[in-house]
């Protein structure tokens, strides 16, 4: 092992700078590629490394060329690093922290010697899309080739045991979101807040100020003033190190907040009444031979390094400048003690032909052919307008050849733009534009806000805002800028994807000649910077290759998110509601195995489902059936409703009686089933399946509200209001007798399929149903939920000598299968009609109307679909797994097993299943293909019920 060495000096660190963001009183160290490096608080990872003289931070994706810093901003394509277990950290943005462990990502075996860099000599054989043209034959070798390709996948590492971390989200309802905290964003926010709007001001970097931060004394003064204004204007919430990540329909604005004290990342979802887009401009790289060498940097990068981080970007520089920012960079470099060996002024025909060097620039070939030795090449060749938020709002940016950049075209009512994206001009002109934009945004936002409030019915206190005339926003001048995209040589266009200008031309010549096809074929703009640095150059090069103008060529569509966002922040707390029955504490104490049933957590079993089932047949068992859907129905028209919903007849149900019902959808497919009891003259209680509870309720409301609004019925879900306990088994009456207060439980007074209201274990207002899913004598007791646990415990206590035991879902499934009761959704599927589910006995086609009637009446005339039947394997020890197929002849599917189990009661396997109509005759032998490939035979039974088909036990 190599021992860690400590760098103590920071040779490239300059003396104090007026606008620096580092805190020289807080030095510390961190680790880069296994070695310790010094840093100051406020440094980014890359600024700290640059201060120590490091220049290579990654290897490029395809050719594994050394890469250094280019933009010194979030976008910096060569500065993506691994921090601890976090991949793809933007090293030029992320602040370094004491003890941070940082490593380079795309290098093997090491950053200094990268074995894959041989690819750079193979470049000519690896044109864009080369993989489409090779590895075709022999086909069997493709998987091996694929493995090799995968090894080139760029990016950091993930770990299967990384902790999830804490992320959350919040909603916001500002009047205005301002995207961008540069001078224009700040001025717009202040103006809007002064006009009475609530504003969220979002800045991607750690402080407000934008380009003023690395500017002149005057600019720093203006910055201080603007920051003061923001601070003292009420109604502005400032979010730094945050980014407006997307604008969606309804001006739903996603804001990502990073590195909060208690949350790693937070997503803010803002319903902005107006979005003001003020992101400034992104400096565009220049395309020429060697433009990706470490030491080739943008003018803004040089100025950021010097002014914000007090880092000297090099010793001897050549500068290519086409604008005032380039000129300012020259001044900054000189002030920082960098020898400026040559200034190539593109406005006067200056140019760069190429840069040379191995792990960094050593020499630059200038426009006139002369060669200058240097270790730094700074370019200032123009700007890209980050129009993506406008684009997401439907705007199509338009290219302006005068300014050599794209501009927003069609402003919408709820999105405005200001700052550099809208035009050029002096700081004063920009600020005036921004202020007017802020005022206009406020005017519109207040109007929208009041309309939203007025949209809430029965609100009395909405004040109409005075109708103000629109604020006139002055036009910003457009300053002429040379169109500089590619010089006389080929170079890298997409630094993340390692795509050169040659690649784009080659793609165009092959027919991939529209922007989208070129993008997809070469993958240019598809990498981590998502086109923010490279799109305009790519479009310009494509335009030239196809003989079109940039306007004709157009640009790609920008898609959200604006900046990459963690899955953690997008997920937030990951709300997944869960439901528990009142008896859950008891289940947990008694070893219930939890089963997820939709939102409910239910006891699957308590250790031994078969003995639980046997105990029901022999003694008495309790099952918690609280999740069963329950709907309270009241009103004189309930019978009409029931007749509509169910396929069977409901006119004649007497008070105290219960009936089983089946619901179908309009296409005749079985939707749900359950029992409904009549509790009083105009009062019914309907039960549904657990999974169908919500659907059925919404379904009923739909019929009532839209088809029969004149019916006098109230439907109220009461699933949770009652704890439901099914007491099942031959001794259930005896057990219930011990706790029931005022209800006559004798078979004569309280027969099968009846319901009574009374007191159980001292709890009033309980419903007792004599029904049975298990086929045993059983009572389903609905207890006011808060007393559920109390009553359950009482029953367990009082029934101890009767052998009472709990049983779970699994035992219940065994019992119901023995009894041949179907489960909708298991023994039926999305296309099972009521006839094929063996429910013909229930369907009353003579009723005037019910849901699904037409389809069912046609089905009754001709139904050749599979039929649900009881099945018993001839070999009773074989349990065909559910979904085993029933086959005929040459593997023709003739049915399937829908339910199966080993019956503890019968001591043999039993099934329900679908069979083709010609196999449905009782006594038919069918062939069942088991999942293990073996075959077995089974007999079609007379009844669905395998046990007590006449139902004597439950009626007892």
């Amino acid at each position: 092992m190599r021992s860690a060495t400590v760098q103590t000096r920071m040779p490239m660190r300059l003396g104090p700078q007026p606008g620096e963001v580092i805190d020289r009183h807080r030095p510390f160290t961190f680790t880069w590629n296994g070695e310790r490096y010094p840093a100051f608080a406020g440094d980014t990872i890359i600024s700290a490394l640059a201060a120590s003289g490091e220049r290579v931070f990654s290897r490029s994706f395809k050719y594994h060329r050394p890469r250094g810093l280019l933009t010194a901003s979030f976008l910096d394509p060569g500065c993506v690093v691994q921090v601890n277990d976090e991949p793809n950290v933007r090293g030029s943005h992320r602040r370094v922290e004491p003890g941070m462990i940082v490593s380079a990502q795309n290098a093997w075996p090491s950053l200094r010697f990268d074995a894959k860099s041989v690819n750079r000599f193979l470049g000519r054989f690896l044109p864009p899309g080369f993989y489409y043209k090779t590895f075709i034959k022999p086909q069997r070798l493709w998987p091996a080739y694929e493995k090799v390709l995968q090894r080139f996948a760029a990016g950091g590492r993930t770990f299967p045991d990384s902790p999830h971390g804490y992320y959350d989200k919040r909603y916001a309802h500002p009047d205005i979101v301002v995207a961008g905290g540069g001078p224009a964003g700040m001025a717009a926010a202040v103006a809007a807040a002064e006009a009475g709007a609530r504003v969220i001001l979002v800045e991607e970097e750690y402080e407000l100020g934008g380009h003023l931060r690395w500017g002149s004394e005057d600019e720093l003064g203006a910055l201080r003033e603007l920051r003061d204004e923001v601070a003292r204007t009420p109604g502005i919430e400032v979010l730094t190190n945050s980014v407006v990540n997307g604008r969606y329909d309804g001006n739903w604005v996603a804001i990502l907040q990073r590195n909060l004290p208690h949350v790693e990342e937070r997503l803010i979802k803002a319903r902005a009444k107006v979005l003001v887009v003020a992101p400034g401009l992104i400096e565009r790289p220049y395309v020429f031979r060697g433009n990706d060498l470490p030491g080739v940097i943008l003018s803004t990068a040089a100025r950021r390094l010097i002014n914000l981080f007090a880092v000297k970007p090099g010793e001897r520089a050549v500068v290519l400048t086409a604008n005032a920012d380039g000129d300012a960079a020259v001044a900054d470099l000189e002030r920082a003690g960098v020898e400026v060996a040559r200034v190539e002024d593109a406005r006067r025909g200056g140019d760069i032909i190429g840069a040379r060097g191995r792990n960094g620039v050593r020499m630059v070939e200038c426009g006139d052919g002369s060669r200058v030795e240097c270790d730094l090449l700074v370019t200032a060749t123009g700007w890209t307008a980050p129009t993506s938020l406008l684009n997401m709002a439907g705007d199509r940016p338009v290219y302006n050849p005068t300014a050599a950049r794209f501009f927003p075209s069609r402003p919408s009512d709820d999105v405005l733009a200001t700052g550099g994206i809208s035009g050029d001009g002096s700081l004063d002109e920009l600020l005036a534009h921004a202020r007017a934009t802020g005022q206009e945004a406020a005017r519109r936002a207040l109007k929208v806000g009041s309309a939203l409030r007025a949209g809430v019915p029965r609100r009395v206190d909405v004040e109409e805002p005075p109708d103000m005339p629109p604020i006139e926003i002055p036009e910003l001048p457009v300053v002429e800028h040379p169109e500089l995209f590619q010089g006389r040589t080929d170079g890298i266009v997409d630094f993340s994807e390692d795509i050169s200008s040659k690649d784009i031309v080659a793609a165009a010549k092959e027919g991939y000649d529209s922007v989208e096809l070129m993008k997809r074929y070469t993958t240019a703009t598809m990498g981590p910077t998502q086109g923010k640095l490279e799109t305009v150059n790519a479009v310009a090069i494509l335009a030239r290759a196809t003989g079109k103008t940039i306007e004709e060529t157009g640009t790609t569509v920008w898609r959200p998110p604006y900046a990459p966002i963690t899955l953690g922040a997008l997920a937030g707390r990951n709300f997944e509601p869960v439901r528990y029955s009142p008896m859950q504490p008891w289940h947990e104490r008694h070893g219930a195995n939890p089963m997820v049933a939709g939102a409910w957590i239910r006891p699957e079993h308590y250790g031994d489902p078969e003995s639980e089932a046997r105990n029901v047949r022999e003694n008495v068992g309790l099952i918690d059936v609280t999740p069963l859907g329950k709907l309270d129905l009241r009103g004189p028209d309930v019978p009409k409703l029931l007749n509509l919903l169910y396929v069977n007849q409901w006119n004649t149900l007497e008070v105290g009686k219960v009936r089983y019902g089946v619901m179908c959808a309009e296409d005749g497919v079985v939707l749900d089933d359950g029992v409904t009891g009549r509790l009083g003259p105009e009062h019914y209680l309907m039960t549904t399946t657990t999974s169908g509870a919500a659907t059925v309720w919404e379904w009923i409301e739909s019929w009532l509200q839209t088809e029969h609004p004149d019916w006098q019925v109230h439907v109220t879900p009461v699933t949770d209001a009652y704890a439901s306990i099914n007491i099942a088994g031959p001794k259930s009456r005896e057990l219930l007798l011990r706790v029931a207060g005022d209800v006559d439980l004798s078979p004569e007074a309280f027969p099968y399929m009846n319901v009574r209201t009374g007191t159980v274990a001292g709890v009033e207002g309980c419903f007792m149903w004599r029904i049975g899913f298990t086929g045993e004598l059983s009572y389903e007791v609905h207890v006011p939920a808060a007393y559920g646990l109390y009553v359950w415990e009482k029953l367990m206590d009082r029934g101890a000598d009767l052998g009472v035991k709990p049983f779970g879902i699994q035992a219940q499934r065994i019992l119901r299968l023995e009894k041949g009761h179907l489960i909708v959704g298991q023994d039926t599927d999305g296309l099972t009609g009521a006839y094929s589910a063996g429910l013909s006995w229930a369907i009353k086609l003579y009723k005037e109307d019910f849901i699904g009637k037409p389809e069912l009446s046609w089905q009754s005339e001709c139904d050749n679909s599979f039929q649900l039947v009881g099945l018993q394997p001839h070999d009773g020890s074989v349990v065909p797994p559910e979904a085993s197929q029933i086959v005929e002849g040459e593997n023709e599917i003739a049915g399937r097993i829908t339910s199966s189990c080993m019956s503890p009661t019968l001591g043999r396997s039993i099934c329900l299943g679908f069979v083709a109509p010609h196999l449905a005759e009782p006594g038919t032998s069918v062939t069942v293909l088991l999942p293990n490939g073996e075959r077995t035979t089974a007999r079609v039974m007379e009844y669905l019920a395998h046990f007590d088909p006449k139902g004597e036990r439950q009626r007892g």
Binding site: P457, R458, R579, Y580, R634, P636, V718, D720
Partner: protein, 213 residues
């Protein structure tokens, strides 16, 4: 052995110390934190369904979207179109039902005691706004949802009724949902309030509902 009276339990497990009062097992915890969460499930909850403009609606006086305390200390919530939720101190159920029965005219009226069907939580403190902004998409500012506002929306992805019911000039919200989700709702709110120093306060009838006056 004499039968003890049945014990009612909230779906939200009570924070220790635990005691039994009003026939309910409740937490006896007290706190002086600025932001507090209280399980108010023991309150009586009566759901009334009637026509929007019938006798019951006139007698209850509160339209959908608003909530107000009547002279007997019952909080009447206009919880839906033609739907009201009446919140009353424990034990006041029968009386509350009787009073609605009295005012019904010939229309169809459903009166359901959903005391057992709902979980009810109160959050009090000025930072309740910030807490709720983490779990609910509704604008909780005074202009949009002033004191006495009632609405149903999604809270932590759960359909929840929210009532702004300030107490002594301090911001306070009642939230109720289907009972089985109670623990989930409580935990979600508690988690969201963690960064603001939320603390649990045990149920006290006097604090659960504002006093008439």
């Amino acid at each position: 052995m004499a039968e003890r009276a049945p014990i009612a339990r909230s779906p939200i497990s009570p924070a220790p110390p635990v005691t039994v009062e009003y026939g309910w097992e409740i937490s006896a915890r007290r706190t002086s934190a600025d932001l507090r969460i209280m399980d108010c499930t023991p309150l009586v909850k009566i759901l009334v369904r009637a026509s929007i403009d019938g006798g019951v609606a006139r007698a209850l006086e509160v339209p959908f979207g608003r909530a107000a305390c009547d002279e007997r200390g019952v909080l009447v919530v206009g919880s839906g179109p033609g739907e009201w939720l009446l919140l009353a101190p424990p034990g006041a159920g029968t009386e509350t039902v009787r009073r609605v029965e009295e005012v019904r005219d010939r229309e169809i009226v459903s009166i359901l005691d959903v005391t057992h069907g709902r979980a009810l939580v109160r959050i009090s403190g000025e930072e309740a706004v910030d807490l709720l902004a983490k779990v609910c998409g509704i604008d909780f500012s005074d202009e949009v949802t002033p004191d006495g506002t009632a609405f149903r929306s999604s809270v932590a992805k759960l359909t929840t009724d929210v009532v702004r019911d300030d107490q002594d000039g301090v911001r306070s919200y009642l939230l109720h949902c289907e009972r089985s989700f109670g623990q989930y709702l409580f935990d979600s709110l508690h988690d969201a309030g963690d960064e603001f120093g939320i603390e649990i306060e045990g149920f006290a009838g006097s604090k659960a509902l504002s006093q008439p006056g």
